[in-house]
Symmetry: C2
Subunit: 242 residues, 2 copies
DNA sequence: CAGTGGTCTAGACCACCAC
DNA sequence: TGGTGGTCTAGACCACTGA
């Protein structure tokens, strides 16, 4: 039999399959935590062999977009606390233990975006962002002061919810259909100014880690720009390189 | 025909193949930059099908241990400046440009390891480390002050070379057969003490990024513990998360 | 027990590269 | 032109899961 259909696109078939699966995850066909069809079922759905579906799922698994469990099925990834902690939270206790910090929201409102927010969120024209300010605490001690900016277009009523949950990425997914798939972070060391010193209960001038994060949805759209000031006495920012 | 040989180990066959390829890279059968045998050749060498070799090479490619080039072959990865810059050097100019800093070595000698060095390099007993101190410069301005500690056992004459090249990982590979495959980094913000302030030409108390890196060879052996103090005015530490 | 993913094999054709 | 990796297919058996 023929080994392969000729490729219509320049993209290999398995990448087209991958894109169609991402599309299904983006448009809500399969919601976070739900099971996808089996590999042969996806193969007949897309008109390709199971091996090609498998290669697409291999890449999606490597990117943490999908989770496969032997004997059970393939599932749309969830942004549960564990996933957040190990993939999107690089701050770790000096003893190596990672804990989920509590949060105390100090403000939610609409603003004109700062230049950084405008660039990171790819905004143009006269749009506004919803900006959340919060302090994060471990054992009731403040360790992070951060502001989170999201575009009003994608999150129309985020400022009218009353309460902002601690795990805000789960809210992005469940209420606004925006599943955070990846993020980019830039870190600097800065001396605490008066406001930061007060928020974090340190002396002015204390060295703090300033982290600027841009988070992206499954389809690549930027959904959040976050700026965090972190105490690093007793904590560190941890990265594995290859 | 039979679909698969029964697995002797608990490990799947392709991981055994992967381990044997890593072994060949570790023991010098294939040196950095050299071409490996073709996929069918590796298959008959190890007595497995080409598909199984391919799966092993897929993983090695994902881990940047080998490089495949269509039409040419599969090659043992090299630690050239480009690889170093994009995989092991997270400091980037605020304009997004990455440049290779020059280095000025200020000291090379043997010491008893510090507790951090002892733990990271998994040393025991009464061994010593070779410790290199250097200042790294961009446009003749000091930006990083670092000490690099390596075990004397693996690097017996590193302190008698006279000169230490800027790209020290290429030296580890070519002279000592230790190819750095991955690393772990921990970052903190600290206030500059008097010595750091002098080295980096900043005022005492200035916030600096302190990065502690442990680097591992292909076989998982720790080969280097490095502590770096970095100015982050004009630079930032950059990470992508998934 | 039936259904799922995990592994392994076998072989076809294509795209790219060096000679 | 010949050799390489890149893609795609087809189908076998194994290991795990849950009813």
């Amino acid at each position: 039999m023929r080994a392969a259909e000729p490729q219509i696109d320049a993209n290999p078939l398995y990448r087209q399959v991958k894109a169609r699966i991402v599309q299904g995850l983006t448009d809500g066909t399969w919601k976070p935590g739900e099971m996808l069809p089996s590999e042969p079922a996806l193969g007949s759905l897309f008109g390709v062999s199971p091996g090609t579906v498998r290669k697409a799922l291999d890449e999606l698994t490597a990117e943490n977009i999908v989770v496969r469990r032997q004997g059970r099925g393939t599932f749309a990834a969830e942004l549960d606390d564990n996933r957040i902690l190990f993939h999107f939270f690089k701050l770790t206790g000096d003893d190596g233990v990672r804990r989920f910090p509590d949060s105390r929201v100090t403000g939610v409102d609409r603003f004109a975006p700062s230049p950084e927010e405008r660039a990171a969120l790819q905004l143009s024209g006269n749009v506004r962002v919803i900006r959340i300010a919060r302090i994060r605490l471990l054992d009731d001690a403040p360790v992070i002061a951060e502001t989170i900016a999201v575009p009003t277009r994608a999150f129309p009523d985020l400022d009218r919810l009353g309460t902002i949950p601690n795990n805000i990425y789960a809210l992005y997914a469940s209420r606004y259909g925006r599943t955070v798939a990846r993020a980019h972070e830039e870190a600097k060391a800065v001396n605490a100014d008066a406001a930061a010193a007060k928020d974090l209960n340190v002396k002015p001038g204390t060295a703090l880690l300033a982290v600027a994060r841009t988070a992206y949805a499954l389809n690549g759209e930027p959904v959040e720009y976050r700026h965090s000031l972190c105490r690093t006495d007793g904590f560190h920012y941890q990265v594995d390189l290859r």
